[in-house]
């Protein structure tokens, strides 16, 4: 952060959760969103230079979704993701170095280079992974919430939690998702399914991939789950609507469902030529850009309804600081260690390896994960 402010309250009280947000908090959110944007820009460059391999899904455009929702829950609430996961990992607190090093396939990465772009895991930040199969994380999200509830209800330990399970609109067509919704409601599990609805299931537009697409919340409602629609471009609005839902799901130990409307600026993955949409369409959405909108709100005078807690210079300095942090992350990844084949290929397969599990030899324990 560039500058602290004496002002901690919003200028007008409108009875919204965001009224209680300090200027520092809002500047931190702007910082986090810009960090994701800058990180993804450098990720694309590294991918184009073939420093990053495999599939790589860029989050640019959707930043307000991750930052707004993750900041509505506690640090020890479990979070599980799909494969477009760099943004959430950073928003959750993963160090950009660990995230970038993972994509570079380095030992210093969050999964020691064994997971790659689609598998961002961060145990200290209660992040249970990005998951590569569309919809596969939805039963896992129910299980995390089930366990959290079991922990305080059956074991008498811990506290009420709420789990967040993110998915794209493409995943709502999967059977696993519907089974997970049914179980979540049936067993009264505190998990919120956040559909980051960017309008495309890979290259297939929403009206071509799912029935009744104008009314996605009916999916959740049909299972008796409280379901709401949120405009995912205005982070303050995301917070104002999502925070009460998260609090309610935690308190009542019930599931929730959110159709979080957003848009991705880049292709489905780095190998997507985007023949299915026009540049005009993309540009139209960019006019709503969540980062520009929040920066503007923070710079606008209080008399005009803004926060007036960020100057042009502050914003410029913040971006410079972030650019430096991301440059450092790339440099860190560049200088990272290639996993040693002898130590890492056959490690982390079993927690308790015993002889004769494989005809190829014995499994071992490798280096301790750098995040632990």
């Amino acid at each position: 952060m560039t500058q602290a402010s004496a002002s901690t309250k919003s200028p007008q009280s409108t009875g919204k959760p965001s009224d209680g947000l300090s200027d520092d908090t809002l500047r931190k959110w702007l910082y986090d969103m810009q960090l994701i944007r800058e990180f993804e820009t450098r990720t694309m460059q590294a991918y184009q230079q073939a420093k990053i391999g495999g599939f790589c899904h860029i989050y640019s455009g959707q930043e307000a979704c991750a930052v707004g929702t993750i900041n509505s829950v506690n640090q020890d609430d479990p979070v599980v993701l799909a494969y477009r996961d760099h943004g959430h990992a950073l928003a959750r607190g993963m160090h950009p170095r660990a995230c970038m090093a993972e994509m570079y396939g380095k030992l210093e990465g969050c999964a020691k280079g064994k997971g790659g772009s689609m598998h961002m895991f961060d145990k200290p930040n209660w992040l249970f992974g990005g998951h590569g199969i569309v919809g596969a994380q939805t039963p896992l999200g129910a299980g995390l919430a089930f366990a959290a509830r079991y922990e305080w209800e059956v074991l008498g330990k811990g506290k009420k939690k709420v789990a967040l399970c993110y998915l794209g609109d493409g995943a709502i067509d999967q059977g696993a998702f519907h089974e997970a919704l049914n179980l979540a409601s049936l067993f009264s599990i505190p998990v919120i399914y956040i559909i980051e609805n960017n309008g495309y299931s890979m290259g297939t537009a929403i009206h071509r991939h799912t029935a009744n697409h104008e009314n996605l919340i009916s999916r959740g409602q049909s299972y008796g789950i409280k379901s709401i629609e949120i405009d995912g471009f205005d982070i303050v609005d995301v917070y104002d609507q999502f925070k009460p839902l998260a609090d309610e799901c935690r308190d009542l130990q019930r599931p929730g469902f959110v159709d979080l409307k957003t848009y991705r600026y880049m292709g489905h993955s780095m190998s997507d030529p985007q023949k299915y949409r026009t540049k005009d369409e993309v540009d139209t959405w960019k006019e709503k850009d969540s980062i520009a909108a929040l920066a503007s709100r923070l710079m606008t005078a209080k008399s005009d309804g803004g926060r007036e807690c960020l100057s042009e210079d502050d914003w410029k300095a913040m971006r410079s600081e972030i650019a430096e942090i991301v440059r450092d992350a790339v440099q860190f990844a560049e200088n990272g260690t290639d996993p040693d084949v002898g130590a890492e290929l056959y490690s982390d397969v079993y927690i308790h390896p015993v002889p004769n599990l494989s005809p190829m030899g014995d499994y071992i324990h490798g280096d301790k994960n750098p995040l632990l």
Partner: protein
Amino acid sequence: MTTLTAPTPPGATRHDHPALPGGYAVPDFDKPLPPREGDREIQYREALREAMSEEMRRDERVFLIGEEVAEYNGAYKVSQGMLDEFGAKRIIDSPISENGFAGMSIGAAMYGLRPIVEFMSWSFSFVAADAILNNAPKMLYMSGGQWGCPIVFRGNDGAGGQLASTHSWCVEGLYANVPGLKIAIPSNPYDAKGLLKTAILDPDPVFFLESERMLGDKAHVPEEEYYIPFGKARLVREGGDCTIISWGRPVNFAAEACERLAADGIECDLLDMRTIRPLDMDAVVESIKKTNRIVIVDQSWPFGGVASEVISQITEQAFDWLDAPPVRVNTADVPTPYAKGLESAYLPNPDRIYDAVKQCTA
């Protein structure tokens, strides 16, 4: 979950791993197992129930979930009475939704609970294939050692009840291919209890393969707690003419064949492998060095199956000790038929094992 420490059974030691807060217990496998002989005869299904109940009494993190496990008292009565003892929060009826409840249980295991997931039949596990094959065995590796998956999937495996193709799967032929999981397959009530208790303590995902055809089998099962180590075959019968190895239900067919072969003057080593991953090749090779001949009895299909794997490893480790080509007895290489006579011919049976040993020792 950060608040819980793994309870340790008497004699067990607690091990630590960064992926499992509270660590995990490893039984004292050097302790001799209790005698197999005795007069406490209970059914295979009761032995399974005893294993689960003993572990659930010690460790509140353990719960059982599956179709009809609670109020129905178990589709096959394995969990009979457990709802009364442990309550509905720990004995959980699931909808017919394998992908959902298997995946949910994997999430719960990652968090730190110890789920036992009952598949009414392993044939139904295929609709949960992504969860049990893509998530459970790979989580530790994909996360670089951050999240483990201590879970037991258990249920009926194999044909024999005239259930035809879709309900008669022997999944070991497919699932043994996947690294990251362990597979146990007991052939009798004594092993069912001792192996299931080991499975529940094990910190890795365990696929536990039972058999609906054996649930009513009775044998002495000690009342005391005991843990059978994974990867240690049992020498069921000793003989110098040929080695027979098997796992699960066909071990009993092989024992029957051994009686008839003995009457013909052919004495066999019979090894019950008890677990497939790990696979006790040391015991197999040791026996081959004595008999120089081997017959492998495998109740799954032949192509790329467990018997094929065993033969591969034998050629790698004991080629020079063989006096005859290994012979395998698999199920017929066709979908499982319904008609009684066809199904019987499809399965490994004492006649086919007898013939295979004759061929191998000719």
